[in-house]
Symmetry: C2
Subunit: 234 residues, 2 copies
DNA sequence: GAGTCTAAGTGTACGGCGTACACTGTGTCA
DNA sequence: TGACACAGTGTACGCCGTACACTTAGACTC
């Protein structure tokens, strides 16, 4: 009967939780979060929707599984460097992963409870702080200060004018500027080339996300470092 | 014919965009974000679902309208105080509003473009910074640093053990602590009463959200103040 | 008044969703 | 050989947002 099984597996690999999750992630990478539906995933796997439920309890659990897959991609923290560098590198590693899976930030936020994998990640972050001599109290505050940034994203309220034709971006900014005086200042500076950001900004966008992310990250890390040394000397 | 109109209005006020939005907000306040569906809102108003579409383009626009209603509740910034105080107060005012409408943070984040009302709010925040002598560049960075916190929330990854029976909370923490060594430290401190937070913590929760929010806010504001004065002297 | 025009509210219907539940088929082991 | 477990199927239900064609009622003109 091996023949039949082989034939079967040649025409279609058996369904597994892993295959389902991988397919779901690929689908989300390609088409955004809206393209993950149980029906769509099943179709991609050449299977009837209800088949998925033999390997995954429900959609919520599937989303958790997808998050785990993504978080597992984050490189471990570098060893033998001071805490600030370790934390900085790890967070930027997380950011790189989340940029590869742009849907993940939103899904992580909209899921209620963090998955064990996420908790494990947080735990290792706590480890870095405690090893550096942070008190438990300050470590606790530190996590709250960093908030979501610790996972490599910081849902901004404004995407600025990413990937918009220059002409259109200009029209938008000046349109807005008529109503909002302070936004006008920002827009003006942008079109004078006055706002530069150290590097040449990404493809003409008004705002280099990566620069802003690191700027904020460093401000926060420096603030925490000051508190840590103050705590140590007290 | 006034009689008939009066009779009609006695039995049911005419449908308006305002009435729809107010009902939607009330519904969300009462039952969370999942209880806002076009059908549910219509039912609440004693009207057929499609009637809503005469006053609201689609569900997305309805959500935008709800956000506007909420953002409009935020008190204006105090006048005649230094920038840090003004910003702090305004952000805490925003937080108070968002605590009254717990669904709003999630909705604001999941809507793509910010509404004009939100942009107006951000613009007034920019005004505070510019008036305090921030350069346009630093003002821009500052907004990114504050991120969502500027609107009074900071989607945390962990809700700690809010509103959970003490017994259950303890079991959860110690259960987690077996697998996650650093979390164990936090749990230990909590149950020894070692982590105190200045005030008595809210109804026995491990973690006083308000305290954490203000701690993070102040750390960030202090960091920005340092950058501002450094910039001024350069 | 009679007739027309407009806009508010209705009713029906479509294609999507997650998933409950009863089924079929196939491989394993007694 | 027959019992059993379990992967995958098929059908169906009750939600969802909303397109589109309709009735109805008030306002406005002649």
């Amino acid at each position: 009967m091996a023949t039949k099984a082989e034939e079967r597996s040649r025409e279609r690999a058996p369904l597994t939780r892993e295959r389902i999750l991988a397919t779901a992630v690929a689908l989300a990478d390609a088409g955004g979060v809206d393209s993950i539906s149980m029906r769509r995933i099943a179709q991609e796997l050449g299977v009837v929707p209800m088949a998925l439920y033999k390997h995954v309890a429900n959609k919520d659990e599937l989303l958790d599984g997808m998050i785990d897959l993504v978080v597992a991609e984050i490189d471990p923290p570098p060893q033998g460097v001071e805490w600030k560098t370790a934390m900085r590198e790890r967070i930027l590693a997380a950011r790189r992963v989340l940029l590869r899976h742009p849907w993940a930030a939103r899904v992580i936020q909209s899921q209620g409870e963090p998955t064990p994998t996420v908790i494990g990640y947080l735990d290792s972050m706590m480890g870095i702080l405690l090893a550096a001599g942070f008190s438990i109290d300050l470590m606790h505050h530190a996590l709250h200060v960093m908030g979501s940034r610790i996972l490599g994203f910081s849902q901004d309220l404004f995407d600025d004018t990413d990937s918009m034709p220059e002409e259109e971006a200009k029209a938008m900014w000046t349109g807005l500027a008529e109503v909002y005086p302070n936004l006008a200042a920002l827009a003006g500076a942008y079109f004078e080339g006055q706002v530069t950001h150290d590097e040449a900004s990404t493809v003409g966008g008004a705002c280099d996300d990566q620069f802003e992310f690191e700027f904020a990250l460093d401000l926060i890390l420096d603030g925490l470092e000051r508190l840590r040394t103050a705590e140590g000397s007290a």
